[in-house]
Structures are given as C-alpha cells and as structure tokens.
Symmetry: C2
Subunit: 373 residues, 2 copies
Amino acid sequence: MRDLLALTERPEVISFAGGLPAPELFDVDGIRAAFDAVLASPGVLQYSTSEGDPRLREEVARRYSIDGLPTAASDLIITTGSQQGLGLLATTLLDPGDTILVEEPCYLAALQTFALAGAHVVGVPANGDDLDLEALDRLASTHGPKFFYTVPTFQNPTGRTHGLEARRRIAEIARSRGFRIIEDEPYRQLRYSGDPLPSLAELAPEHVVSLGSFSKVIAPGLRIGWIRTTADIRSTVTIAKQAADLHTSTIDQAAAAHYLVSGRSEPALDRIRDAYAARRDAMLEALPTVLPEGSTWTRPDGGMFVWVRLPEGSDATTALRRALSRDVAFVPGTSFSSGTPDPRTLRLSFTTYSPARIREGLSRLGATWGADG
Amino acid sequence: MRDLLALTERPEVISFAGGLPAPELFDVDGIRAAFDAVLASPGVLQYSTSEGDPRLREEVARRYSIDGLPTAASDLIITTGSQQGLGLLATTLLDPGDTILVEEPCYLAALQTFALAGAHVVGVPANGDDLDLEALDRLASTHGPKFFYTVPTFQNPTGRTHGLEARRRIAEIARSRGFRIIEDEPYRQLRYSGDPLPSLAELAPEHVVSLGSFSKVIAPGLRIGWIRTTADIRSTVTIAKQAADLHTSTIDQAAAAHYLVSGRSEPALDRIRDAYAARRDAMLEALPTVLPEGSTWTRPDGGMFVWVRLPEGSDATTALRRALSRDVAFVPGTSFSSGTPDPRTLRLSFTTYSPARIREGLSRLGATWGADG
C-alpha cells in the first residue's frame, strides 16, 4: 500500500489521494505582514509560557464564544499542531491497555497515536451513512472506554457530519455511560452549505475536550493547534505540554494572533471556502457519470473529502492499481480502519485541483472501470 | 521553593536565578529579514517532512563537520526545541523501570523528562569540581544503564566542562560497558575563553546521540533544536517525531536556514559572546569580595552559569530568603539534584544584566551574609 501511494506522487498523476490544503489559497501576504509586524520587537524571540500566547488564546476563545460555545482564554492550551494535541491527550488520559472508542473508519494519525499509547482501540461501526448510535451505547457499556474520539464535522476520511439529533444522543450516551469525548474539529470552519451545528462541547460541557487547528483555515506550516480542555485535566495537560516542547514557537503564535486581530483572516477564509465549494461541486457533479453503477458516495457540506463505496464485489485496492495506470489516484478505505475494513470503500480529496482538473481526473477514473468490464 | 522563586520575579529584584538568554542581544533585524524573505513563497506555509527542512539540516550538518564532527544532513532530525529532543529520546530508548545515569547535579528539565518516562535515575557524583569517572564506571557496571545523559560543555547548573582526558575516559567507559551517551550541547558555541574540545560524538561515534539547539545562539522563541542520531535509532526517532507534532514549524525552519545562509548569524553570535564574556568577567571579579570566607565557585569558560558552594554549615535556601529581602536572587542547588542534594550550593546566571548591574546585585548579595553574622 505504501508503494502504491508513492506512485500517486508522480507529477503526471491527478491525485485525489492527498489531504493537503491548496497552497495557492494561503494568504501569504497577510501572514507575511503579520510576521513582519510582530518581529519588530525582540519579545517574540524569547521563551514563553507552556499554555501559549495570551493574545492568541483570547482570540481563539472569542471565536468559540461567538460560535455559541462560551470559552475563556484559560480553557485553551496552544499546541504545536493538533497532532501534538492528540499526543498530549493520549499521555494525559491513557494507560497501556485502556480501551477507547473511535469511529469506523477513523482519521489515520489518531489511530496511530492511540496505538502508540498502548490503547485497546474499538471501532464504532456505521449504520448506513451515519454513526450507529446503538452500537456506541452498547460498546461503551461493554468496554467502559476512557474516551470516544470523533471528528463530528466533515470527517476525515468520510466527509460525514453528525446531525443535531445524533450529537444530542452522543452527548447523552457520554453522560449516562460516564466517558469523555475527544472532539477533533479541524474542518468545522470549512462549511460550504447547510447550517452550522452545535459542537459536542456545547451539548456535554463536562465530558468533552475539543481539538482545534489553524492548519486547514490559515496554513499548516504554522503548526498551531489547541486543546479546549475541561478544568479537571487542565494542569495535567499543561505539564505534559511543558514536557513535550516547553511551548509552541513564540514567533508563530504572536504572528497568528496578530493575523487574527488584523481582520485579514476572515476574507482569506472566505476565499478558501469559495474555492473548495466549487471544487466539491465539480466532484459531486461528475461522480454520477464516472463511478460504476451501484456505487454510493457522501455529499459533504464542507471539509475536504468524499467517501465512495463501490458496488458489491469491488475492491478499491485493485481499482487503485488500474487507476494509477491511467494517471489518477485515490486512497483505498482500508487505510482508515480500526477493525474490519470495507474493501469497497475509497477516499477522494477535492481541495487541491481546479474544477476543470477535477473533471479531467474523474474522467480518467471513469475510464478505468471499463478496463475490466 | 516554587513560592520563593516566584518572589525572584518582582521587578525590583536583581535576579541571578533565571536561565534566559538576553533579549537585547537577539538579532531581531536579521531574523526579521529572514522571515520576510522566506515568506515570499507559499511553500513555507505548507505541511513538510518530519525529519525537517533539508536546507536547515544541510546547514547544521555543515557546521558540525567544520567543527570536527563529520555529519550528514540525514544524521539530523529537527525538533521543536531540544526539550522535544529529550522527550523523543526518552520515548525511543526507555521503558519504565530502565536505569539511566545523569550527572549530579543535572539539568532540571532533563531530570523531569526522564522521570516522566518512568526511568530509574541514578546520579553520578562529582569528585571535587569534576565528574567522578571511577563512579561512572562503577555505576555503569552495577546498573547496566540505557544511557548516560551529560551536558559536557558549560553545564547547566554548574558551568562545568569535561576536559579532554575526561571526555576520552567517558567515551572509553561507554564502549567498555556498552551504554549510549546523550550529549546535550546547548551552550557549546557560547565559549569566551579556552580552546574548543572534541565532542563526545567525535570520540565514540557509535555510542553518542547529540542534542543541539538554536535557543542560546539565535533565539529560543524559534523553538528549533535537533537530534544528531546514530543510524540504528534514526527511523524510530523519526516515527516518534511524526507522532509528536508531525513536524516543526515549516516557516521557522525555513527562516532559520535562510538566516544561517545569510551570513548574519556569525556576527550576531560574536556580539552575544562578547557581551556574555564581559558579564561573566564582572561576576567572577566581584565574587571574591561578596561571598563569605570559605566559599568556592566555578570559573566557566563559557555558557551562562557560575556554581557556588557556600562554607561548611551554610544553607543556600536560607540564604535565598535573606537575599530576597535585599532584592537579589539565585537558585539553590537543591533544585538540580537527582539524589542527595548539597544544601550549600547555588546557581548564579550572568547573562541578562550589564556588568554594572551584576556588580550592584552581587554587592546586595554580599550585604546579606553580614545580616546573620
């Protein structure tokens, strides 16, 4: 599989396999101006506190509060990307052998982080296109998990979003079964259609620790994420952060805070949303004509990914080999599984190409089904 | 002790307790220009590789090689400060219950990192002002340690440097007893007098993993360090780095590489060395007149710290209380101990004040001894 994925990086390949944001949409000028402004004083070159830049925490807290989730700066710990947030929570919450629940399929790097911490990872299956809530309740009752890890909005890899009723039920199950939820929200602000939904933290404040990140909404090179923690683990998480790297880059944090305050981040994010929406639409419009009869797929209201299930008897890994021979690529769904993978599934990313290039890539993909039919 | 140290931060206090570099010596203009140059292209805002920026690794490798230690870029893994390097090595090399050896006294954050990893930490005592090499050999034979952690040059907290003969003997003991050495070198380039010494990695290449950092020679706010690893653990360390935070800030790494290539880092480091040398000299000149009869202290050729041992019967924590009442501060040596602390010891940092202010602070300190005599 690793070898196959290496082939997706040949320049002639139109690759829907990636998970990167589109670099031409980064607000280079705005970010450059922010760095230039904060580097006028030597303070940004000094050591700083493990919790993070106070001004940055204020700005992030303010945005949460506007978004309906009352948040104080002191609830936030800035991390070196949300990958570090995952690691700090694993360190803080898990002992080897502890059971946790994840969505099946699940964000790959989270699976790896939890496995590295020695966790016993149990996948909660889907019921059709949605999370199987009865299975969540049953597995929580059976296993007494330390936490349930979820990407509730525009999930990687499926693009799936838990609806309002599902969110309420997840919060209720967490309360009744007494487990925490880690709510990972890198894509929440990448919404192109539909109405915003309350976060799980709003619905079960004492049970939910949230992860956020600027990687998909400003730029990943900054390596800035955060944990919105509950009071009971705040000091433990802060100690783990201090041990991990003392603190996140003082310069990058100050520049991010300056950039948010500058007012340039919102129009830049609007440009990203507009471009991604057009790319998603191009993909969703083309899919019916290029996928084999009997395929199903998600129609996400945001994020970066569409999840496809090929017809009965198909195998996405075999399909990838054929696709690569026509210079188009995707990731088979088996890569994202905590348990029994569904070999018919695959992930398509729509963020990095123009609509025209997406149509060209999908047309190449469409030609591959005929190749063996 | 935490409460006492909080008192050292009152603005009227001349504090020799800190461990920060002097911010007025940061090359703000040079660093700002480097950020501005690299932020001309969007590539520095994208995700990058876990091993680190290839150009930065080339530059660091080139400096090692010029310094007498042949190093390839591929030997280096960029870390988010050398604190992360310590953590990654603890993750890679230690299982709970493993014994490691440290210098007594030892850099505090390293002690905390190894304790957090569940290590059994054994201190190697001093013999007068030097490391007790026979004790190192004996403790290595008794405990079969996973590694010996050392800051061989201008150590924190003692300012002590292992001489050439000691280095050769440490390398020999590591070879004969079959343990690794973690050589932590944040201060190596801060030399104000005396001749450079070979690194331990030069003397026992297969046994030594080295840690480096820009925190003391460029600026800590960058949060850039590195591990110069041996081939046998390179891939394991890289996987641990990926799990920790995917990679260090793409922007900060690119700016650091640009800054090194720009030729501005060497004159800036010369200015730091000149200023710190004058501050060290001011401290060493004043100490004989301000410390009580019978005190001894180190005379470091570089770094940031002087280590004082008060006369028989003294207690540095009691002395700190008296010192604070006269608005001067230091850190009692008990803070840096892995085993039985010596209550007569204390650490003085000479980096953050002008020579005149250092003389004023030490004069205040001198007045405190009379206070109980």
